[in-house]
Point group: C2
Chain length 333, copies 2
């Protein structure tokens, strides 16, 4: 029997509302975790302080002394360069532009910090411990507020020439579609994200469509969220079903593009919108089937993400373990 | 000085109208070439016979005896699996479906045959001897009758899980756009190919628009080709300029998608439509700039393909030389 590997790393998921931190061992187990608040509208000093606070707290837990730590994986939405550790822009953290985020945290902790896109981290998590175990070429997408993605090619996350690759959420699928925050129009996420679904429902309600969706949103059209539409659809509400069918259609168009571009063996789909389940996903797969080359469609299978909200957190830690060459003895969660 | 490498391989470009064959040495020089007719509407027997005929003729040229040959690279449009040598479907060869094309030719020649997509072959050609020398992550596209592409990741052509990857010509950019032969709608090539450009010009002419385009097409709207539009545009024809501007816009939308998805260091653009030159390409790059993430756009440069009509032929041969480990001493053409 081989000696037990005592390596421990820290995974951090820096989101727009919370910063979540975990100590993870070489078997892929979370030994301790913490959650703090992200001061999203503030600058890098406040955000770095918030990250360090969460790291400090998780290390105060029993048997989590900082001296044991190998390195840190930091997952964050937006464009970042994993080589330089610079975060260029993040939709969730408008206060950060061109900030050497990894370096700032590295200086304080005295440990190597690996910065990566949160969806890329999630893809790494799903590859090692989730729905993509054993797959060599797959695409992970998360249907959430926006649409994030990570592409794994030959077992390695593909980051492109400067770390910005895999943004199919900003692939145009309707060139005259809705304006996107990124400056383009008709990006996939303007039509197939949770935000897009809720917005479409609100528009129909404001046009006077009768629906029970409002009952789930406290009677206020402005407050309608994707979950409210899902709940109304479960009771058979016509508008809710129509809104979900429309979203499924656009999800499917984007999936067809990914299939024809990447010819993946697997597409793993995560994110809050997948809570709607088959009512959303089955018609999306059908639309993808109508659009993609039949042979290429036949070569792909679809799976739901397995790691849920922890995928970025765990994936960041697993990425670091991989970089350290310590991924030999993973145990399933 | 190292001994001269006497390895020779055959490159074949099997197109819808002609089959072109060359003997290429380990320095990347074409030593002899032949061109025959493709019986595109016939079945595999006739097409294989035509390929073998061209190979036979090229080997009859002085000093080209078959015994010198290492292997054969066969480039063909459509979906094929490089592992199995099966051609599943080709837009140019409707008579071929699920045919073990590499094996059929291999049996007759007694040499290993590597089957590959023609745009993938062209990408390999541009990487070794053309506009992409030194690039590790780039996308090659050819704007022609349709739109073909080859994606090189970390110096290797990316073929996906079953060889069908890199078909951005069938990436939807307008989900309610024109019907495509592939069964989808609004595929990039229905809006940004040479066929799309000519079709749009014909439609405007049939609606009664005044234009000199017709003068270049013998007065017959049905016969208008992309070249006619280009010629008319050079004399300042308003409709011709409008048609090119519209095509440039759609070229740019697709380029933006490729930039956001692949974050390439380089996009190499070839194909007959690039003969239009800056009048097409400059506004296309501008549209891509408007649409892509600024940071990702900044990381890419654009280059015109350098190998022209020989890119597939030469690329197929260079791919084979690469597989044989004989790419050490390439000389520029």
């Amino acid at each position: 029997m081989s000696e037990r590997d005592d390596t421990r790393v820290i995974g951090i998921d820096l989101g727009g509302t919370s910063v979540r931190t975990a100590v993870v061992n070489a078997q892929g187990r979370m030994l301790a975790r913490d959650q703090g608040i992200t001061p999203a509208r503030e600058g890098s000093d406040a955000i770095v302080k918030s990250v360090l606070g969460s790291v400090g707290r998780v290390l105060e837990k029993p048997h989590m002394a900082a001296s044991d730590l190998g390195a840190v994986g930091l997952a964050c939405a937006g464009l970042s360069n994993p080589e330089t550790g610079i975060l260029y822009t993040s939709p969730n953290l408008p206060g950060l532009k061109d900030v050497p985020l990894a370096g700032l945290i590295e200086n304080e902790l005295g440990k190597k910090v690996f910065l990566m896109n949160d969806a890329n981290a999630a893809a790494v998590g799903e590859m090692h411990l989730g729905a993509a175990r054993g797959a060599r070429n797959f695409v992970y997408i998360t249907l959430s507020t926006g649409i994030g993605a990570g592409v794994v090619i030959d077992g390695k996350i593909y980051t492109g020439s400067t770390g910005f690759a895999s943004e199919p959420g900003h692939m145009v699928i309707d060139d005259e579609g809705p304006v996107c925050y990124c400056g383009s129009r008709g990006c996939w996420e303007t039509l197939a994200s949770g935000t897009a679904l809720a917005k479409y429902a609100r528009q129909r309600i404001e046009e006077g469509r009768k629906t029970s969706i409002l009952d789930y949103a406290g009677g206020d059209a402005e407050k309608v969220r994707a979950e409210d539409v899902h709940q109304a659809a479960q009771t058979g509400d016509t508008l809710a079903k129509e809104v979900i069918a429309r979203t499924a259609y656009y999800v499917g168009v984007g999936l067809a593009n990914l299939i024809n571009i990447f010819n993946p063996e697997l597409i793993v789909i995560g994110g809050g919108l997948t809570n709607i389940g088959d009512m959303l996903l089955e018609p999306a797969y059908e639309e993808a089937k109508r659009r993609a080359f039949p042979q290429t469609y036949q070569a792909v299978r679809f799976a739901r993400a397995e790691l849920g909200d922890d995928s970025g957190l765990l994936g960041a830690a697993l990425f670091v373990l991989g970089e350290m060459g310590r991924l030999g003895g993973l145990l399933r969660p």
